[in-house]
C-alpha cells in the first residue's frame, strides 16, 4: 500500500541503460583479462574499479538505494563497511595483503 514517501523509481529506460553499461563493463573486464601480461600490475586496479562500479550501479539503480530511504543505506552500508573492515583486518593480520 502506498505510504506518503514512496520513492520515485526510474523508468525501464534507465534500467536498460544500466544493463547496457553492466554488459559493456563485463565485456571490458573480459578483454582486459586477456591483455598482455606486461599490464598485470594495473589490471588489478582496473578490475577493482570496474567491479566497484558494477556493484554501485546495481545497488543504486536496481536496488533503488539512490532513491530510497536513507535508513536502508545505513543498514546496508553499515554491514558492507563492517564486512570490508573485517576482511582488511584479517588480511593485514595474516600479512596476506596482495
Amino acid at each position: 500500500m502506498e505510504h506518503g514517501r514512496h520513492p520515485a523509481h526510474p523508468t525501464p529506460m534507465t534500467y536498460l541503460k544500466v544493463a547496457a553499461i553492466l554488459a559493456i563493463v563485463t565485456f571490458i573486464e573480459w578483454a582486459i583479462f586477456f591483455a598482455p601480461e606486461s599490464m598485470d600490475s594495473i589490471k588489478l586496479t582496473v578490475f577493482s574499479v570496474l567491479s566497484v562500479m558494477k556493484f554501485a550501479l546495481v545497488v543504486m539503480f536496481y536496488m533503488h538505494l539512490k532513491f530510497d530511504e536513507r535508513l536502508f543505506s545505513m543498514f546496508f552500508v553499515g554491514g558492507l563497511t563492517l564486512a570490508s573492515g573485517v576482511i582488511i583486518a584479517l588480511l593485514v593480520l595474516f600479512q596476506a595483503l596482495l
Binding site: G78, L82, V86, L90, L93
Partner: protein
C-alpha cells in the same frame, strides 16, 4: 481461510498448553524464553558445582578428565547461549513493546519462530549428555583439536550444528527487535526519548545481526572439514589454524557486549526508578553504549595476545582494548551520578543493581589489566581470567538479570516478589559470588592454569580452591532461595497494582499483568521518562490510557495477531534438519522440506484470522 494449506486448522482462542504452543504474544514468548533460560541457568550451575567439587581438593577423583572437559565446555556454552542470551531475549520480549508503547513486536510469528528455534538449538547442543559425548574442547573450540582426527566423537558435531541453529534464532529475534524499535514507537517517542534499555536492546540487536554470520562461517568451515574432509583447518594442506581463532573472536568479542549491554540497559532503568531521578547524562550514556558496541569490533585480538601475532598487532589491540574502558567508565560514573542526590529506596531490585556496579567495577578493572598485552601473557589462560569473566558475566549480566526480574516481575504477574526473601537472596548471592570468584584471582596469580581437571598438591592452590568451592555452593543455595521466592510469590505474592515502584516508563502505565493488547489507547509521548512526566511532570496533556478505559473496553475492536502453529512447525523442520546434519543426510532433507512447507503455509496465512471477530 481459517484452514491453512488444508492440513492444519488454525488454533483459535486456544487455552492450556495449546495456548503456549501457538502463541504469538510477545509477553507469553518472553515468559517462555525466561523459564527455559532459567532452567538452563540451573543446568549450567549444576555443571559448575560438579567442577567445583572436583577442584575442591588436589587430585580429587569425582569426575574423569574427559567428563571434566565436557563439563567446562558445556558450562560455558549453556551459560552464554542458553542462559544469559535468552534471559536478555526474555526481557526484550517482555519489556520492549511495553516501553515503546506498542501492542506487539513487528513480526509476532517470527518472534515465536525465534523461540522455538532457540529451544531446538538448545536440545541439539545438550544432546551430548544423552548420547554420552558432549563437546569437549572448550566453548572456543580451537582448531585443530576439533578436527575429526583428534576428536572423532559426535560432541563437536552437536557444537557446530547447535550453535548454527541458535544463530538462526538470534538473528531472527534481533532483526525483529531492530524493526520493532525503529518502526513501532508510540507517537512522540523520538530516538532521544527512548528508554536506555531500548537503546541497549537496539545496539545488542545490531551486534547480533552482524556478529552471528561470522561465527556461522567458522562453523560451516569446521563442519565441512569434519563431515566432508575439507581442508580449512588442515595444517598438512597449508591451512593456518589461527584463522578459526580470528573468526571465532571477531564474533566472540561483540558477543561479550551482546551479553553485557542488555544488563547495562536494565541497570539504567532500575536505578532512576528507585532513586526517583532521571538517568544522569542520558545522551552520554546512550552514546557510550553505542560506542561500546562499535568498539567491540576493534578489539577481538586481545583474546589472542599469546598467539604470537607480533608486537605491532598486540600493541594496536592492547590500545583499542584499553580505550573501551572509557565509555564503560562513563556509564558507571553516570549511574552513580543518578543515585547522587536521589531518594534511594533500597528494595531488592536496586540492591542487585548496586551490586552490579560494585562487581562490574572489579571485573572491569581486571579487564583493563588484561588489556596490558605484555603482562597478559602471564595472566592468559589462568584462573585470573576465570575470575574476570565471572565478575563481568555473573557479577555483571546475571546480577542485572536478577535486578530486572525483581523489577518487572510485578508487571508480568501482578504480584510482588517477597522483599524479605529477596534480601536474603541478594546478600547470599553477594557472599557466594565473591567467595567463589575472588579467590580465583589469587589462584591465577599463583599460576593455576584454567581447564585443568585436577592439580597436584604442593602448588599452593589447595586453600583457595576449597574457599571457592564453598562460595560456589553458597551461590547455588542463594539461587535456590530465589527459585523458592519465585514460585511462592507467583501464587501468594502481595498484589502489586499497576505501578508499584512509581515507575518512569510506559509499561507502568498499563495494568499488571498487561492485557493481551497492552495499550487500550496508544499513548502519545512528550518527553523522556514518559510516564513519570505524566504523573509528576509539567502538565503536558498526556492522554491517560490507564484506569477507566480498561474497565470499559475489554479490547473489543483491537485486532491482535492470531495464534499460529506454523512457527513451531517451521522451526521443528530446522531442528530435524539439524539432527540430520549430524546423523544422516536424508533426515536433513526431510527437515528442510518441513521447513519449506512451514514457510509456504506461513506466507499464505494472514497475520490475523479474518473470521475471528
Amino acid at each position: 481461510m481459517a484452514t491453512i494449506a488444508g492440513v492444519f486448522s488454525r488454533p483459535t482462542r486456544p487455552t492450556g498448553i495449546w495456548a503456549w504452543i501457538s502463541t504469538v504474544d510477545h509477553k507469553k514468548i518472553g515468559a517462555l524464553y525466561g523459564v527455559t533460560a532459567f532452567v538452563f541457568f540451573l543446568v549450567g550451575g549444576l555443571e559448575a558445582l560438579i567442577m567445583r567439587l572436583q577442584l575442591a581438593r588436589a587430585e580429587h577423583g569425582i569426575v574423569s578428565a574427559e567428563v571434566f572437559s565436557q563439563l567446562f565446555t558445556m558450562h560455558a556454552l549453556t551459560m552464554i547461549f542458553l542462559a544469559i542470551m535468552p534471559l536478555s531475549a526474555a526481557f526484550f520480549n517482555l519489556v520492549v513493546p511495553l516501553m515503546i508503547g506498542a501492542r506487539d513486536v513487528a513480526f509476532p510469528r517470527l518472534n515465536a519462530f525465534s523461540y522455538w528455534v532457540f529451544l531446538l538449538g538448545a536440545f541439539i547442543l545438550q544432546t551430548g549428555w544423552i548420547v554420552g559425548s558432549s563437546p569437549n574442547t572448550g566453548w572456543f573450540a580451537y582448531a585443530p583439536l576439533t578436527a575429526e582426527s583428534f576428536n572423532p566423537s559426535k560432541g563437536m558435531d552437536f557444537y557446530v550444528v547447535g550453535l548454527g541453529v541458535l544463530g538462526v534464532s538470534s538473528v531472527a529475534a534481533a532483526l525483529n527487535f531492530i524493526i520493532t524499535i525503529i518502526n513501532m514507537r508510540a507517537p512522540g517517542m523520538t530516538l532521544m526519548r527512548l528508554p536506555v534499555f531500548i537503546w541497549m536492546t537496539l545496539v545488542t540487536s545490531f551486534l547480533l545481526v552482524t556478529a552471528m554470520p561470522v561465527i556461522t562461517v567458522g562453523l560451516i568451515e569446521l563442519y565441512m572439514d569434519r563431515t566432508f574432509g575439507m581442508n580449512f583447518f588442515n595444517v598438512d594442506a597449508g591451512a593456518d589454524v589461527i584463522l578459526w581463532q580470528h573468526l571465532f573472536w571477531v564474533f566472540g568479542h561483540p558477543e561479550v557486549y551482546i551479553l553485557i549491554l542488555p544488563a547495562m540497559g536494565i541497570i539504567s532503568e532500575v536505578l532512576p526508578t528507585f532513586s526517583r531521578k532521571p538517568l544522569y547524562g542520558y545522551p552520554v550514556v546512550v552514546l557510550s553504549g553505542i560506542t561500546i558496541g562499535f568498539m567491540g569490533w576493534a578489539v577481538w585480538s586481545h583474546h589472542m595476545f599469546t598467539v604470537g601475532l607480533g608486537p605491532i598487532a598486540n600493541s594496536v589491540f592492547a590500545i583499542t582494548t584499553m580505550f573501551i574502558a572509557v565509555p564503560t567508565g562513563i556509564k558507571i560514573f553516570n549511574w552513580i551520578g543518578t543515585l547522587w542526590g536521589g531518594s534511594v529506596d533500597l528494595k531488592t531490585a536496586p540492591l542487585f543493581a548496586i551490586g552490579f556496579i560494585f562487581l562490574f567495577i572489579v571485573g572491569g578493572l581486571s579487564g583493563v589489566m588484561h588489556a596490558i598485552s605484555p603482562s597478559d601473557a602471564q595472566q592468559q589462560d589462568t584462573y585470573f581470567i576465570v575470575a574476570h569473566i565471572h565478575y563481568v558475566l555473573f557479577g555483571g549480566s546475571i546480577m542485572a538479570v536478577f535486578a530486572g526480574i525483581y523489577y518487572w516481575f510485578p508487571k508480568a504477574t501482578g504480584r510482588l516478589l517477597s522483599e524479605r526473601v529477596g534480601k536474603w537472596h541478594f546478600w547470599l548471592t553477594m557472599l557466594g559470588m565473591n567467595l567463589a570468584f575472588y579467590p580465583m584471582h589469587f589462584l591465577g596469580l599463583d599460576g593455576m592454569v584454567r581447564r585443568n581437571y585436577t592439580y597436584p598438591e604442593g602448588m599452593g592452590w589447595d586453600f583457595w580452591n576449597m574457599v571457592s568451592t564453598i562460595g560456589a555452593f553458597i551461590l547455588g543455595f542463594a539461587t535456590l532461595i530465589f527459585v523458592h521466592n519465585f514460585f511462592r510469590s507467583l501464587r501468594k505474592g502481595e498484589i502489586s497494582g499497576d505501578d508499584p515502584w512509581d515507575g518512569r516508563t510506559l509499561e507502568w502505565s498499563i495494568p499488571s499483568p498487561p492485557p493481551e493488547y497492552n495499550f487500550a489507547v496508544i499513548p502519545t509521548v512528550h518527553g523522556r521518562d514518559a510516564f513519570w512526566e505524566q504523573k509528576h511532570g509539567s502538565g503536558h496533556g498526556v492522554h491517560a490510557p490507564a484506569g477507566g478505559a480498561y474497565d470499559h473496553d475489554e479490547g473489543h475492536g483491537i485486532h491482535m495477531p492470531s495464534p499460529s502453529i506454523l512457527p513451531l512447525i517451521t522451526s521443528l523442520g530446522l531442528g530435524i534438519a539439524g539432527y540430520g546434519l549430524v546423523y544422516s543426510f536424508p533426515v536433513a532433507i526431510l527437515g528442510a522440506a518441513i521447513t519449506m512447507f512451514g514457510t509456504y503455509a506461513w506466507s499464505m496465512e494472514p497475520a490475523t484470522a479474518p473470521d475471528e471477530h
